[in-house]
């Protein structure tokens, strides 16, 4: 639980090993760190870009890959058109480039399969990224912990990791994928087409065998506030809710 940043997590060079477009606005980048790197599901890295005159820009990105995945660290970065760092990744970064990163970081927004469930995950947009690491970790550990993921996206084509999540949902092995689209009609029968609310949280919890031990909420600040309030209204004690806010 209290792993925190490892004592040896200085800046290191990592090579971009693979790039794959996930949705029109989100692209995944796999980084191969130059030094050993072991993370826990839910943690993030800090990335630092340096201009020729020494100017640096630094941002945090959650890790999407499971700790045991092995093929490098996957970051899924959403493009903000007027942003500084995310457009660099979308427009400039190429396979083979070296990028400085530091991590793993974060000692609170973490779930290990050995801790068990049930767990309720609630993600908005790119806020699904650390939750995806938890879901993948559960799968690779062959954990039977009941986990429900409520994922709010604007439209069907912006559902990051969509096919993978639907595949996992179809296994019926204790993972429940609850999708809601805020700007389009739902496509799957059990999905919703509205913003997250208390009723949606109640419905998600009905798909778990008992009340969740912990709830994890991640996304923009506005999303996290709304989702955390919906959880509290649905009866989840505030002390069981962990949040990760992507700032603004």
């Amino acid at each position: 639980m209290n792993a925190g940043p490892q004592p040896q997590s200085p800046w290191q060079a990592a090579t971009i090993a693979r790039i794959e477009k996930r949705t029109p606005r989100v692209t995944s980048f796999w980084f191969r760190p130059s030094r050993p790197f072991t993370h826990l599901a839910g943690q993030h890295v800090d990335i630092r870009l340096t201009a020729p005159d020494g100017y640096q820009a630094r941002r945090s990105y959650s890790i999407a890959s499971a700790p045991e995945a092995g093929a490098g660290i996957e970051l899924a970065i959403e493009r903000l058109d007027d942003g500084e760092v995310s457009p660099f990744f979308h427009d400039v970064a190429e396979v083979g480039d070296e990028i400085e990163l530091r991590g793993p970081l974060g000692g609170h927004f973490i779930w290990e399969a050995s801790e068990g469930g049930p767990i309720l995950l609630v993600g908005g947009g790119s806020g699904v990224v650390p939750l995806m690491a938890m879901v993948r970790h559960r799968t690779l550990q062959k954990s039977a912990a009941p986990v429900a993921l409520v994922f709010s996206a604007r439209v069907w084509d912006e559902v990051i990791f969509r096919d993978e999540l639907i595949d996992l949902d179809d296994r019926r092995d204790g993972f429940e994928f609850v999708l809601t689209l805020t700007r389009e009609q739902a496509r799957r029968p059990a999905d919703s087409s509205r913003r997250v609310d208390a009723r949606m949280m109640v419905q998600a919890m009905e798909r778990l065998p008992k009340a969740p031990r912990l709830a994890y909420v991640c996304g923009s600040n506005a999303f996290v506030s709304a989702a955390a309030e919906a959880l509290i209204e649905a009866g989840v004690p505030a002390g069981l809710i962990r949040t990760e806010r992507y700032g603004v």
Binding site: P5, P7, A51, Y55, F88, E98, N221, I232, G247
Partner: protein, 203 residues
């Protein structure tokens, strides 16, 4: 290490350079970060307790606390997630004035700030006194909103902003430097932005 192809146009104006600690960027907005949901603390339920170890020294309710001498502070603040915001205007009660009202000289060198949501953070007592820190009640002249820590938050502007505990409801003198919530989770015991003391492994 220079990053291939990175030529950002977004540099801070050069006259502000020396106000931005290493690794930070200038932010115009006011991002929100916290470990859990935003507690809604009504002022009628609010209180502030000064403790020496487990022993309460003095407790104030909202009206009593607001009757303490109020001071203003406009400061640059630095969040560990790398944003810096200039000239944030706060008003509240200096920690010096809280200690004076309790009639106490700080008995130990270490303090834990405690919050309604169970959050805590450690700050050396010396970093709270001589006008360095306050319990803030107003931001930009208005009550602090719940997501920014209202009704009252600690303000220790010279340290990374997680030390400025939101929804603060007390200060506790401790014999040793005891880690708080984020410090137990890998963040730095002191958190000086000018020395980039973000994580426990930083010198």
């Amino acid at each position: 290490m220079v990053t291939r192809g990175f030529f950002s146009g977004r540099r801070p104006p050069s006259d502000t350079d020396e106000r931005i600690p290493p690794g930070q960027y200038l932010e115009q907005g006011f991002p929100v970060l916290s470990a859990g949901p935003t507690p809604r603390v009504r002022s009628e339920d609010w209180s502030f307790t000064l403790k020496h170890g487990p022993k309460p020294v003095k407790k104030w309710n909202w009206a009593e606390f607001n009757a303490l001498p109020q001071s203003k502070m406009t400061r640059d603040i630095h969040c560990v997630t790398a944003w810096t915001k200039f000239n944030t205007p706060w008003q509240g009660v200096l920690i010096d004035d809280i200690f004076a009202d309790a009639g106490i000289e700080p008995p130990t060198a270490f303090t834990l700030a405690l919050s309604f949501d169970g959050y805590s953070t450690n700050v050396p007592t010396a970093d709270l006194v001589t006008g360095k820190a306050m319990v803030a009640l107003l931001y930009e002249g208005k009550p602090i909103t719940p997501d920014h820590g209202g009704p009252a938050r600690l303000l220790v502007p010279h340290l990374y902003f997680w030390k400025s505990a939101k929804w603060v409801n007390g200060l506790q003198f401790t014999e040793r430097d005891e880690p708080g919530f984020w410090e137990l989770r890998g963040y730095h015991m002191y958190g000086d932005p000018w020395r980039e003391q973000r994580y426990s492994s930083d010198p």
